[in-house]
Assembly symmetry: C2
Homo-oligomer: 407 residues x 2
């Protein structure tokens, strides 16, 4: 029987967790079991949820509030349609509201996965588009763009591009607006990208933010692509994973999609409630087809515990799924001094992503990008940042002086 699985952590000082697990497995599938006549049970067996695992954590002297169980339930695929809303409602619809319970992991059956093409480009596809295969990528974020006009936007774009970044993304709070409507800013920015490429020799992806009514997103994406967009940004959690899935699996939308984690903090930080970061920003983003996934790093200003970051990375890169990988983009408060540590933690398949760490460089935005390029070069050559800065890289030196050196 093909099933998807869900693993929960339940906190309760006294509950019989085995009984609780059984009641979830029955209650969220066939509804009742012991009352069913034998003949009915036979026909219902294929719909019945199964308790796969109950691990109870109650060490001697466990404190009130700290007794929990990790419970894994299998939900037969025959019970729900092959889409993310159906899976989420099945495994965490009603029970999300029933006491201290957090959804910590999902398991997708091959049958369920068959409905999901996953990322259209993935890490390899993005690297192919950029022609960069052996180093981390560098992304820069537009900053303070609300209220800017097209000339100001172009100017900021050019300064970022000349710093040598590989990707530039819209600010996620830039919505479609009369000053810089998406097609216009794509035209302006892609022209600026071409001009910059002549100086830097580097290709550049610009991820334009898809916003507005759900039913108009596809057309908006196509108009942006017609205008030259070679990537898109999307606030997935404010629209729903199925919307990303439909966009990413649409053959006409033939550019990489970067998923922004806006609103994710409404789900993952509590130990007792919600959905873990690795499900939200790892498993579901990849399943829904995000080519790049942004999330708070363990290092910077808005942080997430390192083990959660590593769990996200593992889900985005795992070879156990028959889907292309998604590029991890640990974000927020990143400065050049952190680059070697990011590479140690994530490996080469990572995007170094910075906003303030580029625009806030004392020598300007272009120098801010260069400092990161130099930091990546140093890390790739296994040279300390301090040594590399001293060897004729003043932008990196200034960045280290400003935000601190290698950690």
């Amino acid at each position: 029987m093909s099933s998807c699985t869900a693993t929960y952590r339940l906190y309760d000082d006294k509950a019989d967790f085995h009984k609780k697990a059984e009641s979830i497995a029955v209650g969220m599938t066939v509804g009742s079991w012991t009352e069913l006549p034998q003949a009915k049970r036979e026909s219902m067996q294929k719909h019945l949820g199964q308790v796969l695992k109950v691990y109870v954590h109650e060490p001697e002297g466990v404190q009130p509030g700290e007794r929990y169980a990790d419970v894994t339930i299998a939900y037969p695929d025959v019970n729900f349609s092959k889409d993310i809303p159906a899976l989420l409602v099945t495994v965490f619809g009603k029970i999300s509201m029933d006491g201290r319970i957090k959804l910590n992991h999902l398991g997708f059956s091959d049958e369920y996965l068959s409905a999901f093409p996953g990322p259209k480009f993935g890490i390899k596809g993005i690297r192919d588009r950029l022609g960069v295969h052996n180093r981390p990528l560098l992304m820069s974020i537009f900053k303070s763009v609300i209220g800017l006009d097209l000339d100001e936007l172009r100017d900021q774009f050019t300064r970022q591009a000349l710093g040598g970044v590989d990707l530039i993304k819209d600010d996620e709070i830039l919505f479609d607006n009369p000053l810089t409507p998406i097609e216009k800013r794509v035209e302006v920015c892609m022209r600026a990208a071409e001009a910059a490429e002549k100086e830097t020799g580097k290709k550049l992806l610009y991820a334009a933010n898809l916003t507005g009514p759900t039913s108009a997103l596809r057309q908006q994406a196509l108009r942006a692509i017609d205008a030259g967009a070679n990537a898109l940004l999307f606030n997935v959690l404010s629209y729903g994973y199925d919307v990303l899935h439909e966009l990413s699996s649409d053959s006409a939308i033939n550019v990489p999609i970067a998923a922004h984690p806006a609103l994710a903090g409404a789900f993952y930080p509590s130990p007792h409630y919600g959905i873990s970061a690795s499900v939200l920003l790892g498993q579901l983003m990849r399943l829904a087809g995000a080519d790049l996934v942004l999330f708070p790093s363990p290092y910077g200003s808005v942080t997430m515990p390192k083990e959660e970051n590593m769990a996200i990375r593992d889900e985005l890169l795992s070879s156990t799924l028959p889907l292309r990988t998604s590029m991890p983009v640990p974000s927020a408060g990143i400065h050049p001094g952190l680059v070697p540590m990011i590479i140690r933690d994530f490996g080469t398949d990572v995007v170094i992503n910075a906003g303030g760490g580029i625009h806030g460089h004392p020598m300007g935005t272009e120098a801010g990008g260069k400092a990161f390029v130099q930091a990546i070069e140093a890390a790739q050559k296994l040279i300390s940042l301090a040594d590399y800065a001293a060897a004729g890289h003043p932008e990196l030196q200034k960045a280290l002086d400003t935000w601190g050196g290698e950690r």
Copy 2:
């Protein structure tokens, strides 16, 4: 300057909450302020967020972990498009991930509201359709329907309908499936409803569950309506509020929509993180156009604190919004003994909603419905349930014996 507002509760043992509020107001709008040249400030002023209120809760002897502030920020409407994803990303996108912060309230400007027609029917429209104006409505929920075929579904529908309920809703975990595809079950159930109406003299709304791919929901709704559906059920949180908004404001979808709270528990129960129940299930559901809103009651099996329930009710019914009201449907574990208390708490404009409390009646599903009808009659006549049961209402008597009497 027209603005929407957001009120947060921030927990921190030491933070300068006024400074923190200022940094949210600036950071989530113009990005930076003190560094801007004077001329730029003038043009940016209309985009700048404003701190409206900072209330710091730190009574003498406040314990670690219990110092908090309630902070209200105004976000200029000019910064975001008039849709729910844009508002949520603006007010709770990045900052949802930045420490202990919960979104507790929203304030909608008239300008923002102008894009939202709200519920198409609302409480009055639903009552008009049913011809019932002076009492709480009664809803029954299909139970254990996974794996049933059309005959079994019709049989369960009929037993519910003959009990005298006003509304019957699909189980939210019933997705489109080969055994009971939505159009077929609508046809079968609406025929059963007509037959039952001849016996009960009561009109009946049947809310069929919209499921499957986002882009196909509208067509699915229209097919269901063509097949006779006179209401729809929708798992809003698994799809996104904008999808509900688009469905509810579509003139062709001319039946009431009931919003199910599946997944809501991933957001609201933590005091430190997430989005309050009154925002999720009150403000945003009504804004997005839900005619009825289900949520866990304070009384039954899956519970929510009573003050949160009352806050949801207040948002659904508030006369300060230029939108039709939404009908509150406190749910889960409701039995007839609770009816007088529900009416005391909610007033007459409420749906008494039961699943197990109807199907689990020892005399059967039909008797289960009748017991609720009798409980509502008693409460309306200000007769105690015990007295009314004794006066020739054996179904009510049995229900009180089974689940307990009036609370």
